[in-house]
Symmetry: C2
Subunit: 517 residues, 2 copies
């Protein structure tokens, strides 16, 4: 058995049976071995950012890592932005990067570069394999490192000569540890704050945004009157009618400060302390209000068990075991008239299928969708965790691979859509049930806002031209068709509702361009 086969068999044996890839010459042994190990499903992307973002989306929904397969330093480079998002989401990913044969690096061939330096900023574990006999064990270690705790991106670099050499057999899966239990003092400290009678907010994040964590947190809030908040960009948020609904902190520091004002105790459960996404000349970076004490119940950076900690906290507080209340079922009235951000939100709220998965890169024009779907049937919501745009469409792809039978709604801002638009082709190739809504306001709307907020002058015509993408106009219906995805364009609320309903009911991918100008 050569190294490539040992590698793939080990991955499959460890439960990693999907590989998102754009391979090159140094990965050809891996590709050739796919026919020997049919249990590994290989999904081709036309660009590495598609592959890494899809691995992120898959990991969030499947709760186990997918592998990537990238071509040397430049292929890794193309995947870095979405590995950054995966790192921030703490998604388990086994990031496999092919390299030149070890002896060949001495010649400094054209594609050689410092892969370690490129990979380390996005990897919580990094190893470059050195022997064919050790490659299977390296792969098993990579899977274990991806699971953690804490979970994250594990990068394994595989020199080509190891893949074509005799390598023995596959390695066994490593034992998979549970999340780290939190210390008793963390629970008692939080309980004391919650009993203090002072204003307390419970800030949820990470694993606490899934149903078991939210339910426990809901009981704590119900028993103590604490407010339930959530991090700005959760990796995966289970929400909808009947599920306790923490209020997500706003992206803009001013709004988050208003949400936190008056809080005397902030209890962190799977979330880190709130900070501003960017610095501004006249705003603080640390958003914890003055005089507010921060209590870390479960630290996600340490892989601590936020769900277990919330359950222990509920028990300590005698918060019972019944279900805490969530929003009542309810959908907006289907919108009519002009198509704007609010009409898009109402149409989505009216139509979102039960058990849907929403990949949210709607940015400025998507701002009302979360509110409009609060009473929709239960669904999952996946956010732009690392704020590196170009994540939404690949994450939708990966989520669809992870969850056949569930409808994925990809809410996509037009500027961000152009980063990893190639995702559509893979959605078509794999026949995935992804409905993409492109919110086309023909601008980098968030930057038009930010231009004024950073203290810059309002911006003259040359500055504003850098933030407008309307010249020429992008035709997303044509772009989707060019990649084999059925598409349509909506200019009124009625058109949008009708096209969205049809797209959601049609097997396979489709694109609805919502023209908002």
């Amino acid at each position: 058995m050569n190294g490539a086969q040992a590698l793939i068999r080990t991955l499959v044996g460890c439960g990693v049976d999907v590989c998102f890839t754009n391979p090159g010459t140094s990965e050809m042994q891996f590709v050739a071995a796919l026919d020997e190990v049919p249990a590994m499903r290989a999904v081709l992307g036309l660009f590495e950012g598609v592959a890494t973002g899809a691995a992120d989306g898959f990991g969030r929904m499947a709760e186990r890592p997918a592998a990537t397969l990238l071509h040397l330093g430049p292929g890794l480079g193309n995947g870095i932005a979405n590995l950054h998002n995966a790192r921030r989401a703490r998604t388990p990913v086994v990031n496999v990067v092919g390299d030149h044969a070890v002896t060949h690096l001495a010649y400094d061939p054209p594609l050689a570069s410092d892969i370690a330096s490129l990979a380390r900023p996005v990897s919580r574990w990094y190893r470059s394999a050195t022997t064919p006999e050790g490659l299977a064990a390296d792969a098993a270690d990579a899977v274990a490192a991806a699971y953690g705790p804490p979970s994250g991106v594990a990068t394994l670099v595989v020199p080509a000569d190891l893949t074509w050499s005799e390598a023995g057999g596959p390695a066994a899966a490593r034992p998979r540890p549970s999340p780290r239990p939190v210390g008793e003092e963390a629970v008692t400290g939080a309980a004391k704050a919650l009993r203090s009678g002072e204003p307390v907010a419970l800030l949820l994040g990470g694993a606490a945004m899934r149903r078991p964590g939210i339910d426990a947190a809901g009981r704590v809030a119900q028993a103590t009157g604490a407010r339930l908040l959530a991090e700005t960009f959760p990796a995966r948020h289970e929400r909808g009618a009947g599920i306790p609904a923490p209020e997500r902190l706003a992206y803009l520091a001013e709004f988050a400060m208003a949400q936190l004002a008056g809080t005397r105790h902030l209890v962190l459960a799977g979330a880190t302390a709130p900070v501003s996404a960017f610095a501004y000349p006249n705003l603080p970076g640390d958003l914890v209000p003055e005089g507010c004490e921060v209590h870390t119940l479960a630290d996600p950076a340490e892989g601590e068990d936020a769900v277990g900690a919330l359950r222990a906290l509920a028990e300590t507080l005698g918060a019972g075991s019944g279900a805490a209340p969530g929003p009542p079922p309810g959908r907006p009235v289907p919108p009519t008239g002009a198509l704007d951000a609010r009409a898009v939100a109402e149409a989505v709220g009216a139509l979102l299928p039960e058990d849907a998965i929403v990949s949210d890169e709607g940015n400025t024009e998507g701002i009302f969708v979360s509110g409009a779907t609060a009473g929709a049937p239960p669904h999952d919501w996946l956010c732009l965790t690392g704020a590196a745009i170009g994540q939404g469409m690949p994450v939708a792809l990966g989520a669809a691979v992870a969850c056949p039978g569930r409808r994925v709604l990809s809410l996509q801002a037009d500027g961000s859509a152009m980063y990893t638009l190639q995702s559509l082709w893979t959605q078509a190739r794999e026949g995935l049930d992804v409905t993409t809504v492109v919110l086309a306001n023909r601008s980098y709307g968030i930057l038009e806002l930010e231009l004024s907020r950073v203290g810059a002058a309002a911006g003259g015509p040359r500055a504003r031209r850098m933030l407008r993408i309307d010249d020429p106009e992008l035709d997303f219906a044509a772009l989707a068709a060019g990649m084999g995805v059925p598409s349509s364009r909506a200019r009124t609320a009625e058109e949008f509702s009708e096209q969205l309903a049809r797209a959601l009911a049609t097997p396979g991918p489709s694109v609805v361009e919502a023209v908002l100008v």
Copy 2:
């Protein structure tokens, strides 16, 4: 004057007056300052790989650096593959990367990452600015570092707070040193080899691929009988009727070995010693034949003056000062019948305008174009220097910005085209005279070849599916139209010739999809 203005004014004062960008929040001061310094032309790309590739193309043709403006680590990540190509091309580029305000990094906000680690593998110079007063000097140093010698990518990281703080005025341009003269012994050593009577090949690369270097090398070859060879992927090759024509080394090691067989002395002028692009189980990595002595006349890694060295060599050898012969003027007969790689090449050879710039990422299907244009009117040829695909279309864009009035022909393989296809939008926005020919064979043709060469089994259906991009079929005419670029599709040689002729004669960009299956 704030830091952003001081930065831009310094760049302009140093001759850097084009900036290829996709900015974000941390770059808003730079964007706002564009209206204050109209001498700086900002060109927006919809993806950072477009911006960095365009800066490469601009630098190759303008012989001075363009700036980039990228958004933090993830924006840099998206630009890394084409910075890798620029590094291999030794193109001067001032790579400006915005960063969080210095004080804000302590909060580890979502977009924070280790920019230095990401940047260093593609940068021959790296600095993160630390004070607003020093920012202008940092910019002047970055420009000087980009020029070298040796020239290359100079990365300057600019924390946002420096751009909004008072910064004094711009800094003066640094003196620009000439290329390093080579030592006398390098010239006499090469001359001795050339007089030895044994088989000698002169291998040209880098600056020696421009007219003055080629002319001097041609005289040397004429006087001594030496063979003229060239590196596989020159950054910029001036060629065509009447210009001495070195034979480029083949990409595939077997062919390059055949070209080099029998050579007893290899004189390197601006090129490095030939190596195989990849390692293979049964092929050498070092392609210098056994028993062949290598003489370094001018080392590009040291910024040595290959042109001056070739002139000195010609003088030492008494090689005269007249023009050495090049291929006679001649064009292929326009092709008829089926459209294949040869017909594409003949049509391009028949139609290539004088003084054209060819950006060549034609890969497998483009293999005959170089031969078919050998006798075409003089033109420039830009190659995939670092072998990281997705470079051709942005390089064409940058070359067109550098050389208004010259027609750019972008020869583009279909698989590679999908990497940085967003280049088309910027070509339309800026009204650039770029004619793109997409060579659509619906596969990663080079990998189909490589799959067998690495010693892997021929590859079963699952492996082969990773190398085919025909399901679904990409419609490049639709994709181009979606980005505002006129397009057409050719299925016969006659259709292709007609569409190419029309596209070359039409101002602004257009796309011709050559359907080769």
